[in-house]
């Protein structure tokens, strides 16, 4: 595997040789910010196309085909179209909170995005409590959604925001417990250490039965966290117009759209990190030749491939299951999923204490 840390270290040394420490840090921070911005925008565009194409194929359609080869340039056209749309000034909104909401939603999703392990030596924020930091930041996005719904001064947005808040905080528990199950197995919360702990096999395979149950719980909770699939009540089109972002127009609406797609990528990335080894290639203990071949595939390709696969599964959910009702959704979380996740946590602790994991 190629260590990208060599490249960043070389750039850092080059900068330090011509300028003082603070200037080098400043330049590096600006470069990181610009790269983060470009990656964020590019991935969002890719995801919009990815979902439109997948949705079309699930329904035996072709999807966007006219702009560019196989409709590849359609998303760029859409991006420019949304930029030149009018931002309608509304009369009765709470102006400050209405403006603040997109900032909160986008900032929280960019910070989560920066925590993901992209490849060997390619990771931006790396706290020793990394995974807890991601969970904490993801909670801030909920505040943005609640503010958007409340400040719009519209009955549909209020219902959408309330549903979204109840849903996201409820499923965060199962999400946290599924991640906690893997932390018991790994014994660390640092993202880099988590990836390296999976060098001799991904946690999904190392953790016996509880890891597999945790993976299923995580997928269900992640679908609900991103307001997608069978849990898209906050945006139920034929009940609530568009949910919490009904009153937003033009690029103002685009931010919520952007954050929704990026959150899909982020939850897929966390699933990849916790269960499928992050950027770590598929290693089987004892198969030296096989492991060597797998190491030739770049780590970035491994990470993106696994994340896109998880996203594919989540998009698949959407076209397989009908939308649930709010009481069914909350009952499912509090009466089945969360007790089950707690039980699974105890099961994993017992497995680890008895040494039954691989």
């Amino acid at each position: 595997m190629f260590n990208f840390g060599v490249v960043t270290n070389w750039i850092n040394d080059m900068l330090l040789s011509v300028m003082p420490q603070w200037a080098a840090t400043l330049i590096e921070c600006i470069v990181i910010g610009v790269i983060l911005l470009l990656l964020y925008a590019l991935l969002a565009l890719f995801y919009i196309l990815y979902e439109r194409k997948l949705c079309a194929w699930f329904q035996c359609r072709l999807g966007p085909m006219r702009v560019g080869p196989w409709g590849l340039l359609q998303v760029f056209a859409d991006m420019f179209k949304i930029l030149i749309k009018e931002i309608i000034p509304l009369k009765n909104t709470d102006k400050f909170l209405f403006g603040l909401a997109p900032y909160l939603v986008i900032a929280s999703s960019v910070i989560m995005f920066a925590c993901l392990p992209w490849g060997y030596g390619l990771q931006i924020i790396d706290y020793n409590i990394g995974i807890l930091f991601i969970l904490a930041v993801s909670s801030c996005g909920v505040i943005g959604i609640l503010l958007a719904g409340w400040s719009s001064n519209n009955k549909y947005t209020l219902i959408g925001a309330m549903r979204s808040g109840a849903q996201m905080v409820s499923y965060e528990l199962s999400l946290g417990l599924a991640i906690l199950t893997i932390i018991v197995l790994a014994g660390t919360m640092n993202i880099n250490d988590l990836v390296w702990a999976q060098e001799d096999g991904w946690f999904l395979f190392k953790g016996h039965v509880p890891a597999f149950i945790a993976f299923v719980i995580y997928l269900i909770a992640a679908t609900a966290e991103t307001n997608r699939g069978p849990f898209d009540l906050p945006e139920a089109e034929h009940e609530l117009i568009a949910g919490y972002h009904t009153e937003y127009s033009g690029i103002h609406y685009g931010f919520f759209y952007l954050a929704e797609y990026l959150n899909l990528f982020v939850v897929s990335g966390i699933a990849t990190l916790m269960f499928l080894g992050g950027w770590m290639p598929l290693h089987v203990p004892g198969w030296e030749g096989f492991n060597a071949i797998m190491d030739y595939i770049p780590s970035v390709v491994w990470f993106l491939g696994k994340a896109f696969f998880i996203s594919f599964v989540i998009i698949w959910f959407k076209w397989t299951f009908p939308r649930v009702r709010i009481d069914q959704m909350l009952a499912f979380e509090w009466k089945y999923l969360m007790p089950f996740a707690l039980f699974n946590l105890v099961l994993m602790a017992v497995f680890v204490a008895l040494g039954w994991h691989f």
């Binding site: 931002i87 906690l180 117009i241 105890v346 017992v350």
Partner: protein
């Protein structure tokens, strides 16, 4: 991660936050410059159903949502207590397992109480 040895995590987190804020600010600025603008009284009304809105929209809302938020608060705090245990659960062994079993028992007792009281019922 080698780059991280040169820059502290705090600075990187601030960089990411500023990037997010700058993205929104820059996009709004571009839209302000190139998007058309007009104002009419009808257009500025809430998008509801075509006829004027009746009553206020920022009202006290269904208490069911609030109840779930309160329940979430309790269980989330208790989950946060579990994180330090999870990290060192291997070195604690059977003793740690038994003590956390008592903690989880109280937690599940709380859930059972809320369930029995009908807090999980959507009315």
């Amino acid at each position: 991660m080698d780059l991280l040895m040169a820059i502290s995590n705090g600075e990187l987190a601030i960089t990411a936050t500023i990037t997010g804020l700058a993205l929104v600010f820059a996009a709004l600025l571009i839209a302000k410059l190139i998007a058309p603008r007009s104002f009419s009284v009808k257009k500025a009304e809430p998008y509801e159903c075509g006829i004027p809105t009746r009553g206020k929209s920022m009202i006290q809302f269904k208490v069911g949502y609030y109840l779930f938020a309160i329940l979430f608060l309790m269980f989330d705090i208790e989950t946060v207590f579990l994180y330090p245990w999870a990290v060192i659960s291997r070195s604690l062994g059977v003793y740690g397992l038994l003590s956390i079993a008592v903690f989880l028992f109280i937690l599940i007792l709380g859930l059972a109480y809320a369930w029995r009281k009908g807090a999980l019922q959507w009315k």
